[in-house]
Amino acid sequence: MKHRVAAVLMLALAGLVYAGMTARWQRRAALAADAYRAARHERREAQLRLAQMQRRESALRRASPVRTAAPGAPADPVGATRQGIVASLQGAGVSGVRLAVRPGTPPAAAEVQLTLEGPFKDVVHLSGELVRPGTGVVLDRFHLSAHDARVAMTLKGTGLQALP
């Protein structure tokens, strides 16, 4: 008889443990798991936003012109931007070049406007050279129009200040 009572008590206790603890904690764990999934999604979104801003800041630093200590190198950003563009134009096989480099409003150090024409391949290659990181030129607008075998390019950009 005693054994039966003990067995019944143990079964009752097992039921209580399951209903009062296991099932309750499992429900809480399921809710916490849902919240965890949502929190991970938010964390991923925040990481992406931050990474995007860091990439932009890093791109701006990389785009900034490299300071040269060469004799005769212009110290002012307008002169330095102009000199960099003129150097890129040399031997580029283009014609009808019209270049204007003016002081810009901060944070731009200079405003650049360049018009030229030439064979498609040369003009496209030059457009990449003019704005590659380190030249200090960031694109604003770019326009290309085909005229027979040649193309005309107009480029508007921003000249950056050299970083210390």
Partner: protein, 173 residues
């Protein structure tokens, strides 16, 4: 000597001890399982709550850092966006991506690229056959590199001369 009389003896039932022990064993096992599953559930709950707290903490730190940077938005932010697009997608890259979508008899007449928060494209293309232009447009709309494709005015006179606007997405995630 008398012989025992078995005829009147009552048959006594021997109590089944083994059945009771089996019942006790099953009950004990059920209790042990209940305790064990409760311990497992508690352990899972603690682990998930710890992970949740840690993730929320990290999210908070990242969000504050992102908000801090966003609050500094201004001319610098626009310039930074343009610098990133210029470095990642200079005109030769955008042109190369466009050319992969063009059928043989479609050619670019003009191309305008506006660099800002994204790159806005304005194209004028000419095609000897209308079907080629249609194919180009379909490819452009289906390309993962371009988005917001908006066909503009088109002149169909045997061939096609048409304007298209789109945004360049590049290889960005």
């Amino acid at each position: 000597m008398s012989r025992p009389d078995f005829s009147s003896t009552r048959i006594r039932r021997i109590p089944s001890r083994s059945g009771e022990w089996l019942f006790v064993g099953i009950a004990g096992l059920a209790l042990a399982l209940a305790v064990s599953s409760a311990a497992g559930a508690w352990s899972d709950l603690r682990r998930i709550e710890d992970d949740l707290a840690r993730t929320r903490g990290e999210t908070g730190t990242l969000s504050v850092a992102a908000r801090d940077r966003e609050s500094r938005k201004g001319p610098d932010a626009v310039l930074s966006a343009r610098a990133l697009w210029t470095a990642d997608s200079p005109p030769p890259r955008v042109l190369a991506d466009l050319e992969t979508l063009m059928p043989g008899d479609v050619r670019l007449v003009t191309l305008g690229l506006d660099y800002g928060e994204r790159i806005e494209l304005t194209l004028e293309v000419a095609a000897r056959h209308a079907a080629s232009y249609d194919l180009f447009l379909v490819r452009l709309q289906q390309s993962p590199l371009f988005t917001d494709v908006r066909p503009g005015e088109e002149v169909r006179d045997g061939g096609v001369r048409a304007q298209v606007r789109a945004a360049y997405r590049g290889g960005r995630p």
